[in-house]
Structures are given as structure tokens and as C-alpha cells.
């Protein structure tokens, strides 16, 4: 494809605007996190004094007293469990929807979509009462279950699209080669759907990782509070100081795993694993 110079300039400008729009808040947060408490409100974009105090503060007191470590662990564990369960269930469901002909296939897909459309805020109140009664309030399952509810449709949708792309003949070949339906799924279909699985996994992980609504409503202590909720409970050094720097530092830190996660799996997502399966 050839673009004229003019066209390229226009595209570049557009790209630059989008990049700035997306990155300035991130840079602003990083900048804030590096400022000392005294200069936090000096309105300068680049810190006049660099300091890592805010970061150190997050980890002070070790696992028991630090306001950050415990929620970080909660976040990691909850997001990972959610991702794992969600992908396992979603891949089975998506496989069935993509491969098997059964009545109500479309209905299931539509139902999943409807669930995803449901405003989460409307479920928080009932959940709060139910969880208290059931003893799920302020526990890991108490968060994992609603996360699954909202992430499964997403994962199923993504995976159905991927499964549909896989030539069905591969599965037939595996069956003729002596595989049971499940073996064919596990040894042929799943490896080939890996890019889709990673895509779905990232989406689910980010969803669970970033959630604030459920985390703030259904937790009450560090037993299960995740980072986004914990940030709201940060306190300053004294009653009169805002913990702006600490919050910024924590925000930067919670973003890092996501970035790493995406960078690691990006190549796997992009890699066209299915190429060469059939004559192309």
C-alpha cells in the first residue's frame, strides 16, 4: 500500500493526538508518584525533586502493617483464580457453541451477552445482602463469583470466534487418529486456540484486576480487599495530609503487572499459530 506524504502526515498527527491523550494521564500519575509530599501540589508536570519515598511508604511495616502488600496479594490471587476458572469454563462452553449443533445455541450466546450488558451496580445491593447471609462477604469467593459472572460472557465470545476459525477437519483427523473427543479437544483444539485463550485471559484478568465496584462493596478488610479498593482507604501521614503521592505510587505499581502481562502474551496472541494447518 502506498500512501502519499500528505496522507502519512495526517495519519501521524492523528496517531500522536491519540497517544498524547492516552499517555498524559499516565505520565502525570508517574510524575505525581515521584514527587515529595511538599511538592505534590506544585502543579509542575515534571517533578522538581525526585523521590521514591511514596513507593517506600507503600511497603513500610511489612505484610501486616503495609497498606499495600496485602491488597496486592489479594488482587493477584483473585484475578488469577478468576482468569483460570473463567478460561476453563469459557473454553468448554465456547467449544460447544462453536462445534456442536444443539437447540438453543444462539440463545445461550445471546443470554451470555445479556448478562454482560447488565449494569453491575444493580447487582451490588442484592449481592451485598446475599453474601452477608451466605458468609461470602469479604472473602475471595465473594469477589471471584461476581467477577466470573461478568467475565465469562466476554471470554466465551472471544473464544467462540477463535474456535470457529480452527478447521474442523483437524478435529476429525484427531478422532480418526484415535483420539477421544476430549483428547482431540485438549491436544489439538486447545493448543491451536491458545492465542484466543491468551486474549480472553488478558481481558478477564484486566477486568478482575481493575474492578473497583465489587471490590469496594463486597469487602470490609484486608482479608480480601483488592488494590483498587484499598487505594481508597489510604491515609496520609497525618489527619490533614492527603496521601496523593502514595495513591499515585500504588496506581503506578498496580498498572505494571498488567503491562507485563500484555507484553508477554502479545507475541503469542499475534503469532498466527494456525498457519499451515490447511493449505493456505
Amino acid at each position: 500500500m502506498h500512501h502519499s506524504a500528505r496522507e502519512r502526515t495526517l495519519w501521524s498527527i492523528g496517531l500522536l493526538i491519540v497517544l498524547l491523550f492516552a499517555l498524559i494521564p499516565v505520565i502525570w500519575i508517574i510524575s505525581l508518584s515521584l514527587k515529595t509530599p511538599a511538592t505534590v501540589t506544585d502543579k509542575s508536570f515534571i517533578p522538581t525533586e525526585f523521590s521514591l519515598e511514596n513507593y517506600k511508604g507503600l511497603f513500610e511495616g511489612g505484610i501486616n502493617d503495609s497498606p499495600f502488600i496485602r491488597p496486592l496479594i489479594n488482587s493477584i490471587v483473585i484475578a488469577m483464580i478468576t482468569t483460570f476458572i473463567s478460561i476453563v469454563l469459557a473454553s468448554l462452553a465456547a467449544y460447544a457453541i462453536a462445534r456442536l449443533r444443539f437447540p438453543g445455541r444462539q440463545l445461550i450466546l445471546a443470554g451470555a451477552l445479556a448478562v454482560a450488558m447488565f449494569p453491575p451496580i444493580s447487582t451490588v445491593g442484592p449481592l451485598f445482602d446475599m453474601w452477608r447471609t451466605l458468609g461470602l462477604y469479604d472473602t475471595y469467593p465473594g469477589l471471584i463469583i461476581p467477577y466470573l459472572t461478568f467475565s465469562l460472557p466476554l471470554a466465551i465470545y472471544t473464544l467462540v470466534a477463535f474456535f470457529r476459525e480452527i478447521p474442523w477437519d483437524l478435529e476429525k483427523a484427531a478422532q480418526v487418529d484415535g483420539a477421544t473427543q476430549f483428547q482431540a479437544f485438549r491436544k489439538v483444539i486447545v493448543p491451536l486456540a491458545a492465542p484466543g485463550m491468551f486474549t480472553a485471559a488478558i481481558l478477564v484478568f484486566i477486568f478482575a484486576w481493575n474492578d473497583f465496584l465489587f471490590a469496594i462493596s463486597l469487602t470490609s478488610s484486608d482479608a480480601s480487599r483488592t488494590v483498587p479498593a484499598a487505594l481508597a482507604f489510604f491515609t496520609g501521614d497525618s489527619q490533614f495530609t492527603q496521601p496523593t503521592g502514595n495513591i499515585a505510587a500504588a496506581a503506578v505499581l498496580v498498572t505494571i503487572p498488567i503491562i507485563i502481562f500484555v507484553l508477554i502474551f502479545q507475541r503469542r496472541i499475534v503469532a498466527g499459530l494456525t498457519s499451515g494447518a490447511v493449505k493456505g
Binding site: A173, A174, D177, A277, V278, K279
Partner: protein, 453 residues
Amino acid sequence: MADIVLDHVTKRFPDGYEAVKSMSLEIKDGEFMILVGPSGCGKSTALNMIAGLEDVTEGELRIGGDVVNDRAPKDRDIAMIFQNYALYPHMSVRENMGFALKLAKIDQKEIDKRVEDAAETLDLSEHLERRPANLSGGQRQRVAMGRAIVRDPQAFLMDEPLSNLDAKLRVQMRTEVAELQSRLGTTTVYVTHDQTEAMTLGDRVAVMRAGEIQQVGPPQELYNEPKNLFVAGFIGSPAMNFVVASAEGDTLKLPFVDAPLTDDMREAIKDHDGSVLAGVRPGYFEDAALVEDDKDGVPFKAKIKLIESLGSELFAHFALEQDPNQIDKTTTEAGLDELSGSSLDTIVARLDPASKIKRGDEAELWLDPSKILLFDPESGKRLNTGNADANDDENDDENADDGETSSGSERPDQSEDDSHGAGEADTDTPSKGTDRGTDTKPEEPGGERADQT
């Protein structure tokens, strides 16, 4: 190794469409059986049923004497080669070929040995560690073959295994498949829409149309004694020409020439009012200038609209004027419209390459009418033996004729579902320029003709 028996096997899809209708076929142990037919004729469905990838709706399917109707593919001990090869892209060639053995929990050393032996046979030894994506089309095809042969299965099922290869490679692989099969002696069912493959590969060929077997027999038998118009038109390249013909006195009136009516023909159409369809193979024609005088035949003039020269032979196309209404009426049931490359308004003649005839010439051609086959225009059933000479001399052939025609008579009323061919049942990929005869011909006569008219 085992025989495969289909006993009135029917496949009906949930929407009611019958892809395979009460198909009975016996494939002997070690036999190379070809299922051939146009797209949507049910041949792939039949193969999938043998493999266990499709359920059998009615009838009985036996492999090696065991009824396997309800057996999963993995318990049938058959290997299948797919049109698109269906190689596992995430596995190396070695893993691809060894996958079935690994699933069968065979010792790794044994797997390695068998895979390496097969790779040796198929000239793949250097590529064992490569992924399918890095192989050429021919190599992928070989890997698919290798995957089948390492297992030493009861039977090979091949679903148009060569149709994704280019013409040259296809001819080469065709030979290799034939050699391999005869060396291994494994029962093989081979599905194709390419009549050249059917003719060259099979011990026997089953021609299918709209879910029904039209005729089963050795290739030459299908060519010489097709039971009906469909088989006649499907087998042979270029395809048999069909023209509307009628008998008047001692002559058979063809649209381009009047030919003498042989006893064989007269006998065949004596109870037949009106016109019949005459099947004239391209090889019955010759350039009149090159025919020895003492040969029996009729000369005629024709305006040549296209010449295709292949070096070793030469095809001359000339147009006919036939009443299209009459043709429409007579051919749908018989299946003529399903035969690509068979059109009623153009005749293809095969001439000696020494012929000087050129495009646009008002050329003098010559026809040997003795082998012309006559077909019932409604049922498509063959009426005569096409064996005029023998018929004159010996009476035995007369009897053979009767037997032949009566055995072909079971077909006529069973073709209501011609219009199908799409939808779920259509597991055949439409031919991509791999119509009959593209192996040997640079251009497709059908398309060419359309351009000319």
C-alpha cells in the same frame, strides 16, 4: 486389513435432506475403490460415515465383518487423508505422523522407528522436525499420507487428497498413491470428483449422483458400458457429447449428420417413440482428410469454432443448432445438466494431431457411428450396447445387451432431489478449476465455449 460393506446405508440430515440414499457397496479386502461424482453427490458423506465422522441414519456398515454403525472413529482402526490434509500445525512432521501411535500408547522407540520408516518411504526424512507451515503443498500431502501409513490401519479413506495440488504435482502424486496402495495392499476408499483420478487409480469405481450409486465397476467397464447417461457423461475426458437423435428408416438422424442405424440401435429403440439422446465420444470423430477410405463411417461438414491442440491430440469444437426447449425437457431427470462440460449445443471432437483443420474452418469431419450409445431421454438409461460390430456377428452380445439394460433400469425414478446439493449435506468443496480433464488440458472447454458463443 479388512473389507468394508455398506448395506443400504442412508444418511439423512436433521433438516430431512438425504445425502446418501440406501447405498450398498462392497469393498473387498485390499481393493482400491473410488467414489466419484459431482459436488454434493454424497460421496464425502459416505466416506465420513465409513470413518465414523457422520452417523449412519439407516442401514448397516461393516468393516472386517464387524458392524461399526455405533463405533467411534477411534475404534474403527481406519486412517483418513483429508482434502486440506488437516495436519496439526502446532506439531512437527514427526509428531504429526506419530500422533496416532502416541494416542495408542505405543512405545516411543517403536513410534520413532515407524515414523522414520514411513518418512523414508515418502521422502520426508529431512523434514521430520519441521512444522507443516514450512512445507510445500506436495510435502504436506506426503505428511498426510505418512500419518495414515504409520498406523498400518484396516483401511485408508481418502477425501480428495490430491485436489489441492497443482496439476503437475497431482499427476505425480497420483502415481505415488497408486504405487503405495498396491505395495501396502490396504483396503482404500478414495473420494474424488476428478474422473481422471477415478479412471487411473481405482480397481473399481463407484459413480454417485444425488446420494445414489449409479454404477460400480472397473474403470474400463464404466467407460465402455455405462449404465446410464450420467455415468457416460461423467466418465471420459473430454466428456461424451450428447445430441438429440431420432431414427428414421435405416438412418439415425443426428443434428449434424445422418448415420446408418445399426442393428444394435434398431433393436434398442424399437419400442421407443420419438427422439433419444445419442452419446458420441470425442474419439469417434476424425478429420475426414486423415481417414483411410476403407473405414466405415460418415463424413460431414462442420464450422469449427475452437481448436485445442495438446500436441498428442487435438480437440475441435463445433456448434450445433438444437431446439433448447426439447433439450430442457429431456435432460433434467437424466442428469445431463449436472455434468459440467456436457452441453448439448457444442460438440467436441478428438482429431489426429496431424489434422490441418483450423479455427473458423468449414471443415470436413468424419464420424464412426458404430459405437454411438443411445439413451432414454427421460430416465437416462442406456438403450443399446454400442457394440455394433460384435452384435452383427455374435448373438451372445445381444443377450448381454438385455441384461445390461435391465440392470440399469432400477434408477430412472429415483432422482427427485437433483436440485439439492447445497446446505449441510454438501460436504464436497466445489471444484476449483479441477474439473474433469484439467490434468491434461490447459484450458477448460466449458469456459472457452462460453466465450466463443
